[in-house]
């Protein structure tokens, strides 16, 4: 059986909020190392991969591998019933029909309990290899969100050009064109605002802005976001969580669209 106690319901709320607009139903694969999730969007051009390590929970108990097929809309509805500061406990039997969520309020003695019916979801799992990316950009997640939103006003897609000068987000639309360039930047007082560019070779790729904006819904989870690019390889957008947990998005690049 599974029993996972999360100190702050907020974490799960934000994670689910971030992916619920990308996928509808997905399996939460629970094993002794934690809770993992991998799902693709309907068009199969984007992929979300979540890992909540067992260390993120206290305590975490999972005797055998359980796949919890959950409709994310339903999960969102239930999670709305939890305060951000509530202690959340996920429970499920070994061959579960439902997943049980308990919200405990630390301040008052309020205890609320919800069951969500599970679904059988057939999902293909992709094996994602550990890749050495040509360019790794770390920047404030809010900055990435702002760039995507701003450029969305002009165009559907953005080209990300990474050279030793910096990283340039550029787009071209019907009304004109725009670009945002970031350079490596160290802010001693506020390390959250650092921009780091780790480049082994120049990269230029084009991506769908709508998808990127969608990924940016995870901005609240982490102050920094890591963009990993290599030519002709999907972009990785990673939001690091505490205890080595993470939320990763992959997006296929647009190839041969502009030439």
């Amino acid at each position: 059986m599974l029993e996972a106690r999360l100190e702050q319901a907020n974490l799960l709320k934000k994670v689910v909020d971030a992916i619920k607009d990308l996928v509808q139903d997905c399996n939460f694969d629970c094993n002794d190392s934690g809770i993992a999730l991998q799902a693709m969007d309907n068009s199969h051009v984007a992929l979300v991969s979540m890992m909540l390590k067992s260390e993120s929970f206290s305590p975490f108990r999972c005797d055998r591998n359980i796949a919890l097929g959950i409709n994310l809309t339903s999960l969102t509805k239930v999670l709305r019933c939890a305060q951000n500061e509530d202690i959340l406990t996920l429970k499920a039997e070994d061959a579960p029909d439902v997943v049980n969520l308990v919200f405990e309020s630390a301040e008052s003695d309020r205890l609320s309990e919800y069951d969500i019916k599970l679904m059988d979801i057939d999902q293909e799992h992709l094996g994602i290899p550990e890749t050495e990316y040509a360019a790794v950009i770390t920047m404030p997640s809010t900055e990435f969100q702002r760039i995507c939103r701003d450029l969305m006003a002009l165009s559907e897609s953005v080209s990300i050009e990474c050279t030793k000068e910096g990283v340039k987000f550029a787009c071209q639309g019907d009304i004109g064109s725009g670009s945002v360039t970031l350079r490596s930047h160290q802010n001693v007082e506020k390390p959250d605002l650092n921009v780091e560019i780790d480049l082994t070779e120049p990269v230029s790729l084009t991506f769908s802005l709508k998808y990127l904006v969608n990924f940016c819904k995870a901005s609240g989870l982490s102050s920094q976001v890591k963009l990993c690019l290599s030519n002709e390889v999907p972009l990785l957008v990673e939001y690091a969580l505490s205890n080595n947990s993470y939320l990763r998005f992959y997006l296929a690049p647009k190839i041969g669209d502009e030439e």
Partner: protein, 461 residues
């Protein structure tokens, strides 16, 4: 229960119900039942429980030492139109009931008077009589009809030792032995068999249906299937002599002889528009005696010629016309034979132990005094016609009959399944978060699926 009379008398010449009161122990729980009993039954008549000859279940019969056995036929109101009886006593009748057993003449003469009296009585003491009345919930009427003693004997004459019977012929047994097996079936019958009259009657019926051997003083009996068959046939003959009641005719006789309607109507009208000849062929067809095989073939030739002379030959018409001829009805003998067979089947199923059915049927087909072969031939002819008609129909108007009955169910199922899926999809779409809906609009041209970048993971479960 004696009160039932007032109601019955008004409808029918009715036997004194005192007999039934004696036989059925009156019980407060049991609602009164209405019986029409034979009016010549003796005062010793009793309602007894005997085994039903067909399935050996206990059944009620009326036994009169003079007249023999009567079975009860229940006449119930149709379930769709429920009725009840109001059973009320009547002054004049009450006087009458004090007499234990009025004669037949008295009873019938009383009938008219009763009807009159009923009207008077209604005014004079209607209130009293009705208040003393009883309303039965079920308007069931039990009519006693004579039953041949023979049928009750049959189970005893053909004991169910089927294994022994297969190998060797049944043994000849004395009357007493037969009566013993008979009496052992129900205690009531055992008692009744004490009566000399009944024994005589049984002996008489047994001699009709059994092979007999004289063994010294005693006569020995053994059931003879041919004799039984002859008796059954004569009974069936009597049943079917004047035809069946209309409802039975409709249910049992007519459908069996119904001739499938071919698509003649249209064909004939085709001819009439194209040629002047058909009146002749049609008159021929109506004048022709309803159809045995030979005249219809000859007729087909004649129609054929008439059509060909008109030079607008429609080949299918020519072949179909003769088939349409026997529409009118079956040949005379066939109708009678069918009635006879239906009657016989009824007798077998309702009075003869099932053990005897097979030998009797075999006997009927092999060496029966009545030859059913014309009927069989005609019925076979009809089945072939029917098969043709269905084949023809599925050919000619395949628009409406595109799907057979079996396919239909599947189609309905498939459609329901499709609809269910559609509904589900719609529901899913409705519940889709906004973000997902928007992503659907994204132009993904030039974006390869992620599965082209990342190999499929080995399934870890």
């Amino acid at each position: 229960m004696a009160r039932t009379r007032s109601k019955l008398a008004a409808k029918d010449p009715v036997q004194e119900p005192t007999t039934s009161t004696k036989a059925l122990p009156p019980s407060a729980v049991n609602p009164p039942k209405l019986f029409i009993l034979p009016n010549d039954a003796s005062p010793e008549a009793r309602i007894v429980t005997l085994l039903n000859p067909v399935n050996a279940t206990p059944n009620r019969y009326l036994f009169c030492p003079e007249q023999g056995f009567y079975e009860f036929t229940k006449i119930a109101a149709p379930r769709k139109a429920p009725r009840s009886w109001l059973i009320a006593p009547h002054q004049t009748l009450r006087d009458e009931t004090s007499k234990t057993f009025p004669s037949v003449e008295h009873g019938t003469a009383e009938n008219g008077k009763e009807a009159d009296d009923l009207a008077d009585g209604e005014q004079q003491e209607g209130a009293i009589s009705i208040s003393k009345g009883y309303i039965t919930k079920s308007a069931d009427l039990f009519v006693a009809t004579p039953l041949d003693t023979l049928f009750l004997l049959l189970p005893a004459l053909s004991p169910s030792k089927s294994t022994a019977k297969d190998t060797q012929k049944q043994l000849f047994l004395s009357l007493d032995d037969h009566l013993e097996t008979l009496g052992a079936t129900t205690p009531h019958l055992g008692q009744l068999l004490q009566s000399r009259k009944l024994r005589d009657r049984i002996e008489e019926r047994m001699s009709d249906v059994c092979d007999m051997v004289n063994a010294g003083e005693e006569k020995m009996y053994r059931l003879s299937h041919p004799k039984l068959l002859i008796i059954l046939l004569s009974k069936a003959e009597r049943m079917s002599k004047n035809g069946f009641p209309a409802s039975m005719e409709d249910r049992l006789i007519r459908p069996a002889l119904e001739i499938p309607i071919m698509s003649i109507k249209r064909e004939e009208s085709d001819i009439s528009t194209s040629e002047a000849g058909p009146t002749q062929s049609e008159s021929q067809s109506s004048a022709q005696p309803p159809g045995t095989a030979t005249p219809s073939t000859s007729d087909s030739q004649s129609t054929n010629t008439s059509v060909s002379t008109a030079a607008t030959s429609l080949p299918p018409t020519a072949t179909e016309l003769p088939e349409s001829k026997p529409t009118i009805s079956a040949p005379e003998g066939v109708l009678h034979l069918l009635r006879l067979r239906t009657a016989l089947a009824y007798l077998l199923s309702s009075y003869v132990p099932s053990l005897l059915h097979t030998p009797l049927r075999a006997l009927l087909s092999s060496s029966s005094p009545i030859n059913f072969s014309p009927l069989d031939a005609h019925l076979a002819h009809l089945t072939s016609l029917r098969a043709q008609a269905t084949a023809l129909r599925s050919l000619s108007d395949n628009i409406s009959r595109k799907r057979g009955y079996n396919d239909d169910e599947e189609a309905v199922e498939a459609r329901a399944e499709k609809k269910r899926k559609q509904d589900e999809d719609e529901k899913k779409k409705k519940n889709e978060p906004r973000g997902i809906k928007q992503l659907k609009k994204v132009d993904v041209s030039g974006m390869r699926k992620l599965s082209t970048f990342f190999g499929k993971a080995h399934v870890k479960k």
